[in-house]
Amino acid sequence: MTAKQRVTLEVWLLKLEEGVLSETELHEYTELISTDEEAAAYVADRSTLVSALHTRGRARKAAAKKVVAFSDAQQSARSDLGQPPSSTHRRSLLALAAALAIGLFLSLFPKPEASNDVADASPQIREVETPSMPIRPPATSVSSDEMPFLAIANRGSLNHPELASSAVAALAGTGEAVSEPLPEIISYNEHIRPILNQKCIACHGGVKKSGGVSYLFPEEALMAGESGIPAIVPGDPDGSEMLYRITTDDEIDLMPPPEHHERLSDREVALITKWIKDGAKFEDHWAFLAIGDVAPPEVENAGTNIDAFILDGLNERNLIPTDQADDYTQLRRLSLDLTGLPPTPDEILSFVESTDPDKYEKAVDRLLESPHYGERWAAVWMDVARYSDTMGFEKDPNREIWLYRDWLIDAFNDDLPYDEFLTHQLAGDLLEAPTREQLIATAFHRNTMTNTEGGTNDEEFRVSAVLDRTNTTFEALMGVTMNCVQCHSHPYDPIRMEEFYQVYALFNNSADGDRGSDVPVMRTHAASDREQVAALQAKADKLRKQIQQDLSSDTAAGAQFAANKDSFRKQFKEDFTAFDIVAVEGSEGTEFEHLGNGVIRSKTEPRISEAITVTVKVPADGFSLQGFRLDFLPTGDSEKPAGHLSFAKDGSLMVSAVQFLLEEGPKATGLGFAAFDSNAGTGSYGPQNLVKRSFNQQIMNSWKIPATEGETPWAIGTFGKAHQLEPGKEYRFRLAHAYPNARENITSHFQLRFSSSDALSKRRKLNQAALKEVYPDLWLAPELEAEPALDFWLHSGVAKHPEWATLSQIRQDLKKLKKHQVLVMREIPEDQQRESRLFIGGNWMNQGDVMKPGAPAAIAPWKDEFPKNRLGLAQWMTSRENALTARVAVNRVWEQLFGEGLVVTVEDMGTMGAQPAYQKLLDYLALRFKTDYQWSQKQLIREIVLSDAYRRDSKVTEKMLAVDPANRLLTRGPRFRLKAEMVRDQALFASSLLSSKMHGPSVMPYQPEGIWNSVYNKRTWETSEGEDQYRRAMYTFWKRTSPYPSMVAFDATAREICSPRRIRTNTPLQALVTLNDPAFVEAADALGQRMIDAGSELSERLNFGFLAAASRPIDDKTLSHLTSLYHQTVDQMSGNEKQAMAFIARIILNLDETLTKS
């Protein structure tokens, strides 16, 4: 029913009550009730209500009369006593009257006998009756009973976003005075969306559309809700149900419901009123919009464009930023940020002493070119990519995927443009002729978990991995939390549930399937081996070409070779004879005829599972049997194309067992086969399946002979030795097809011949020995004439060449350079692609409509030219229209440098994410990153670290602390505790223990005993030896169920799923790690030694230790403290200077200053 119909209906009903309804109206009324169930249900309910209201009204009236009468009487009695009437009495009487009314009311509505009959009568009402879930706006505390989905959030298992808005909101100043004039132009994003998000969206958004009203999408907000009235009628505040609802005095109608939220303030109402009056223009969320004007404001003293934005903001708030930090601090900050390592004492001294005005810029460029730059930034990305050396879940077995980490390091060092960086990782395999690097990059999305636990459903966990890819792509690369959208439309962001599954559909056609082997995988050389491999390969190719040339027929050596070949062939000539056929029988009754020369043909189509028994007679002079040969001939059916071997659809044949036996009385002697060769059927369906097989077995792996054009398929069976067959004896040769549920026929037309040539066995042996070296993977011997056989000829000595030994050696060397495994993405063939459906309620078992691939339209349009696969997604993400990708990338870089992103919630740039303090700055950098820098991350980092904002002193004034404790306004330089990786790397680097070895498999540095208790597999933590003990933290073996403890203490995550942001915490455990972890103890010892080596004076030694660990010279006060402490320690350690210095080094390594980037 529309709103208009409702009013019309009510008018009719009221007119009926007044007895003034016309005939026509009565007719229309009846017509409406007859045809509109909703109207009929409404009339039924309204009738009940009106009847109750009448009853109530009469009761009240009657009671009031009595009260009046009673009080009149009382009053007259009282007035006799000169007393006013008691109001208490009056109230109790009213209560009595009310009770009477309710009693009557009760009797009016006896309980129905069967309530479900009633419910069936009107589905509309039933819907209303569904107990509503009281969702409170996010700012208030919520009990987990009331909001089941929030309970999940509290467990954190789904990485559900924080619902509380950030502290920046406080800075923005929401409590404006009512009297303040309304803005000239009402901005949806600035004025309206915050009100809706805070007070309306919880019930009228993606999770729940109470009353059929949602404010997430304009078209929904403008649509009529269940009441039939549109919530918002642009330009018409009076006609907008929303405005009535937020202003009414009726508690029933008032929104938000009084029990959920306070009513909107007058100003909020005024804002909404004006907004609707002005046409109710919706705007997309700022982060989803194209980047607008990014011209830096004109500000005095702004060192760089970045500073112009920041100073502009600070001036507005009357804040004065700090000055530039000293050289020591600047170099330390820069080195740690760009390479993850502190500067060396030499670097520090030369930097400080230099008078070059460009020395800072030069240091930036030097550090950006350092190979450690790649390691530092790859470590950041490993969190995003959920990199792990194990598969996860209960068994958590090992997985080899470190080649991806190598790729990351190289990609950062080579400054692979970010758009390509993303494209290769999302869809490298779908690029035209992908390189090995592009394929390795796709391991990004193979870092999902694999569940190898027994009894788990592979499809369930395949789906789970695809969901993870969808979520990770958006959370990490687009800064949009998508997890929510798996189950329902996004509660706050304009992303529909359908759109989640459109992206899911893009990911749903990869070939992986939660298999224990983690296939598809690629085996390739490590980057470090690649040069050598390529060189050896080139050398081998060149040699082989030369050999081939030298052995060509026009040379003397070639002529010799040809002659050798001829004699070799003669030696191995095979010779087959047909025996006389006595009978041919089919086990299923098919009749066969024999046509001479061993040729047998069925008269009718053989049945499936037919076993054919051919009885042959040994020739009169006996036979020395070495083997037999079967030739499968075309069906002879003119309807079937040539090469069609059987009557089955695809023309292929299937043989599951072959037997050759002598039956004498009850005794049957079978002759065992040594090998089968064939030109048809390979791999798991090859003829080797027939070698050791009992005839009556039901077998899964049979020999399948495909129908082929041209060459007829043949098979040669060898017995491995000669069997002397007595003349005249009858042998049975049986072919069976015992494969259950087979669809292929057994042969219907074939030739059977026998051979006494020992060439069969000899060839077999020769093949095995010679080919094992050259073609280890080939079971089947190539035809001796075939081209690749040159190696075979050389190997077997038939061809001779002086360089053959060299070539063999090169091949040996190549083999020693091992290939490593990496998981890769691969798309399944187009004709087998999966149909992707929406999962109702996020449950993969509850499938909804089929989803076409696509991406959320609110972020950027999906263009027709995008391929409908992961590559299309990458193109969408890096398209000109998609402003979010660059914003998120810039924000992540900023977060790494400043400790917090411009948008603090790096993982959420949606409407519930934190408001950026400097949105224009973010936009400026995003645009520059995308256009001027062509997605170069190094250029972007360079611009940021060259800004004054980055180089400022981190000293904080009381005012700054009061106004901006978290430094979101950037009044000062960044100062925060080092990341987990840096804590370790710095200690090892300062003490010179750190290995500079890059790339390669994960290593196992010291870890306390008993941390690992790997169930089902015997994997143990085998502490690495030598320099692998002191590798950078990023190379540490990462086990999901048991991540490296000393890094976990510093907020590293288990990386089971994407962790786009590490939340810094400070706990006592961290001090225990840096004081006691063997790596740190050893580092202290080594640093102590370095300090001793640094000079003869104690002050020199202490100064060196400070330079190495804290990157600055020691100050007098610290020097005097440490000096006296050193002397005390030497005394206590009975003069052991080495130990005492190690003790001092340990103190330096544990200083707050050392563990902090200032």
């Binding site: 039924a44 309910d45 009448h54 009469r58 129905p112 009633v118 209303v128 509503s132």
Partner: protein, 196 residues
């Protein structure tokens, strides 16, 4: 309120016969069970409709009885391929209008007043179960209304004034049409409140 049980079983077509003639749906007679089912399903709507026409809860029962009886006697005319409600509302309209004419003639309408306070009325609407189990609900819902609407309720249901009469009150600012709208909203609000 149950279906009147005055129909003997011999008027019911045997099931086998019904099955054998199932080719042509228009000839299938409704058996008692099917009739009951349909009636159950639409009872609330039919009663609501009757009430809206005759404005008396107790009389609604009587008229509904008559409607049922009339429908039963004409059940062979019902085409099971068509919806039941319009068909039954035809009867309800006829019976209600005839009741109104009769009541108008006899001038009895006002007398229903006293008896109605004691008699049971609608127990077939899903709402009534709400009203039944939460009888204070109506009171609390009414209390949530604004002052203005409570006054309208009083005028309409305590003073028994029609909307037209209310519109003519000297201090009433709203027009009759506006009041129609207000009453629509008022009834809707109360129904919403009661159903929660």
């Amino acid at each position: 309120m149950m279906m009147p049980k005055r129909f003997s079983s011999d008027t019911i077509v045997p099931i086998s016969e019904a099955a054998s003639t199932s080719i042509s749906p228009s000839h299938v007679s409704m058996d008692e069970r099917r009739f009951d089912e349909l009636l159950d399903q639409h009872q609330a709507a039919i009663r609501g409709f009757i009430y809206s026409l005759i404005q008396s809860a107790s009389d609604t029962d009587d008229v509904f009885q008559e409607v049922c009886a009339a429908m039963w006697s004409k059940r062979h005319d019902f085409d099971p391929n068509r919806p039941f409600l319009p068909w039954s509302l035809g009867f309800a309209k006829l019976q209600s209008l005839s009741f109104r004419r009769k009541a108008g003639r006899e001038g009895e309408k006002q007398q229903a007043y006293a008896s109605e306070m004691l008699e049971g009325a609608f127990h077939s609407s899903p709402l009534s179960s709400q009203l039944d189990t939460r009888s204070e609900k109506l009171e609390s819902c009414v209390n949530k209304l604004s002052e203005e609407k409570r006054e309208l309720l009083r005028l309409r249901y305590e003073e028994g004034m029609t909307v037209t009469e209310i519109a003519m009150l000297p201090d009433q600012e709203k027009s009759r049409e506006a009041l129609f709208k207000t009453f629509q909203r008022l009834h809707q609000s109360l129904l919403t409140c009661l159903s929660h």
